[in-house]
């Protein structure tokens, strides 16, 4: 059997006395969308922060395609193909869409010692990407991020992750504060990301949004993964909600 894209084993994270993660296990396959669910304080954010290199883990191991990794920073994780898109999506609001898309990986024109960015190429790629995200209509690629809506910013961040061939795109509450049309755009973009070979971890409070796109649902409770193989096509929203709150075990027990 081939190695999964991501394997987290017995990962723990403590903040002083508080155990935010207690030996959690998670695997993510290739071209798979996972919905990560759990109540507030269940450990979703901490798990994601550990996986994206934002916080160091206290104990446990992370493997990318079978190779053990240790992330000291978010740029470490990005270098391993793991891209996290937060609410404020880590964009530079003063810079344009194009300049944000290519920040840190600007293509250069020849001769390279002049250090000149290849603006024509950058704009061409940006136009194409924005069309795929569905926000190309009236927005020129030179628009500063500061004048975009929340959904448009999310989409720019997702577009960036896709263009740079991140293997795993982690979306932390990407549909929060979005309008109906914007939500639709982001969801269809997640599907097209999967179809072109990327994996996603999708965290959302709105369980219905999760059901619409994911292949597999993982539920966390009290710092642990308590269910990791729920198929949304064969499970009801109610049943998943019971797992999240811990009601199902009490019923069984």
């Amino acid at each position: 059997m081939s190695e999964p894209l991501i394997r987290m084993e017995r990962v723990s994270k403590s903040y002083g006395q508080v155990k935010a993660l207690a030996e959690a296990n998670l695997t993510v396959g290739e071209s798979e969308i996972i919905g990560l669910l759990g109540d507030n304080g269940a450990g979703k954010s901490t798990l994601i922060k550990v996986l994206s290199g934002a916080v160091p883990l206290t104990s446990g191991e992370i493997f990318v395609r079978g190779r053990k990794v240790s992330f000291k920073s978010t740029s470490d994780a990005i270098a391993h193909g793991i891209e996290t898109i937060y609410q404020d999506s880590a964009l530079v609001t003063q810079l344009s869409i194009v300049r944000n898309l290519f920040l840190g990986r600007e293509p250069l024109r020849r001769p390279r010692f002049l250090n000149q960015m290849d603006h024509a190429k950058m704009e061409r790629v940006a136009r194409d990407l924005l069309k795929r995200v569905g926000i190309s209509k009236d927005i020129p690629p030179n628009t500063p991020i500061g004048s975009l809506s929340g959904g448009e910013r999310q989409s720019v961040a997702i577009a960036r992750a896709m263009y740079f061939e991140s293997d795993l795109i982690i979306l932390d509450e990407p549909t929060n504060n979005l309008g109906v049309a914007e939500t639709k755009g982001v969801l269809s973009f997640i599907r097209s990301a999967r179809d072109s070979g990327h994996s996603c971890i999708f965290i959302a409070h709105n369980i219905h949004h999760v059901f619409q796109v994911v292949d597999r649902i993982v539920v966390m409770r009290r710092g642990q993964v308590v269910a990791d193989d729920i198929d949304p096509r064969h499970t009801s929203v109610d049943a998943v909600e019971r797992v999240i709150t811990g009601m199902s075990e009490e019923e069984e027990g």
């Binding site: 740029s75 300049r99 920040l103 840190g104 004048s147």
Partner: protein, 327 residues
């Protein structure tokens, strides 16, 4: 389309300073026709471009979210060091010049190291450096001006600050250093990868770091640039005036920062404009010169400068709000 062009023009940070500069020149010229005489323009330009060299470097540094209060001290210290070395016979003037530039680069590196590695705000770091460098200049010279000799024959002074005439119009070589630096740094800021990193470092350093931008090295490099340009400006000024005072350049840091913000560069970083800075440099220097010409007491100069800064800040913050509102 035309409307859009007009809107784009109105949203440009440089438009306000440009209008101010035109109005300023028009007012002074109408009050005293000698203001636009060849002699006055030539005299005004000589020192303007020297301060301008520092302002250009400061523009990039401020775009990256930092600033440097030690530039005035470096401006005074570098020529003192150069002349002291040359007068002592230890080195030739040319070697002394390059030693002075190298020491300035080191000062910039120390500034950058304190700010990026020790995470101390640039205000405090460069305030400390202002005192250290000024103190060095005073200590080295016992507070006395250094002896300078007419170096007009040598090639280095000629390249740095040599004078020549276009008709009756006297020009110093420094204007070419200024124009060349403006073009190069304008290109760096707007067209290059480094420029993108500078803007991102000032706009959202954490986002930039996450994308693999080396924010610390970018900022440290700009501190070095700022110091080196101040040393260059100081030595040029010293050669032109045949003077090396250990206390020269006092207060220049604030005048330079004022020039940069009047031009439209954000004090908080993320957005900068070289064209704006060139306009800001001209606005302040022409104001100083024009006030004297129209008979306002020179001591009233600061009232006008302060008023210009406040007015321009109001304009820029208005533009910023419109910009963020998506207008």
């Amino acid at each position: 389309m035309k409307n859009r062009f007009l809107q784009g023009l109105l949203a440009k940070a440089e438009l306000g300073p440009l209008i101010l500069l035109i109005v300023e020149i028009a007012v002074f010229a109408s009050l005293n026709s000698d203001f636009i005489s060849i002699l006055n323009i030539s005299n005004t330009l000589a020192f303007t471009v020297e301060l301008g060299l520092i302002a250009l470097a400061m523009t990039l540094l401020m775009t990256s979210g930092e600033f440097d209060l030690s530039v005035g001290s470096v401006f005074g210290f570098s020529p003192v060091l150069m002349w002291t070395l040359a007068n002592s016979g230890a080195t030739s003037l040319v070697v002394a010049f390059f030693v002075a530039i190298l020491i300035a680069a080191l000062i910039g590196l120390i500034n950058g190291w304190f700010v990026t590695r020790l995470k101390i705000p640039s205000f405090l770091v460069t305030l400390g450096m202002l005192l250290v460098v000024r103190g060095l200049a005073l200590f080295m010279t016992n507070g006395f001006p250094q002896r300078t000799w007419s170096a007009s024959g040598a090639w280095l002074p000629r390249i740095l600050a040599g004078e020549f005439y276009i008709g009756d119009f006297r020009v110093y070589a420094s204007i070419f250093w200024f124009l060349g630096s403006a073009i190069v740094l304008g290109y760096v800021l707007t067209r290059t990868k480094i420029g993108n990193w500078i803007q991102a470092s000032g706009g959202n350093p954490n986002a930039a770091r996450a994308r693999g931008v080396n924010v610390n090295r970018t900022k440290a490099g700009l501190f070095v640039l700022c110091s080196v340009m101040s040393a260059l400006a100081g030595t040029i000024s010293s050669i032109r005036t045949s003077a090396a005072n250990p206390d020269s350049g006092t207060g220049y840091e604030l005048e330079v920062i004022a020039m940069v913000v009047i031009g439209g560069t954000a004090l908080t970083g993320g957005r900068g404009t070289i064209v704006g800075t060139v306009l800001g440099v001209l606005i302040l220097r022409i104001m100083r010169n024009g006030i004297v010409f129209v008979g306002v007491p020179g001591l009233a100069y600061n009232i006008f400068i302060g008023a210009i800064i406040l007015g321009m800040m109001a304009l820029h913050s208005g533009l910023e709000r419109r910009h963020n509102a998506g207008a």
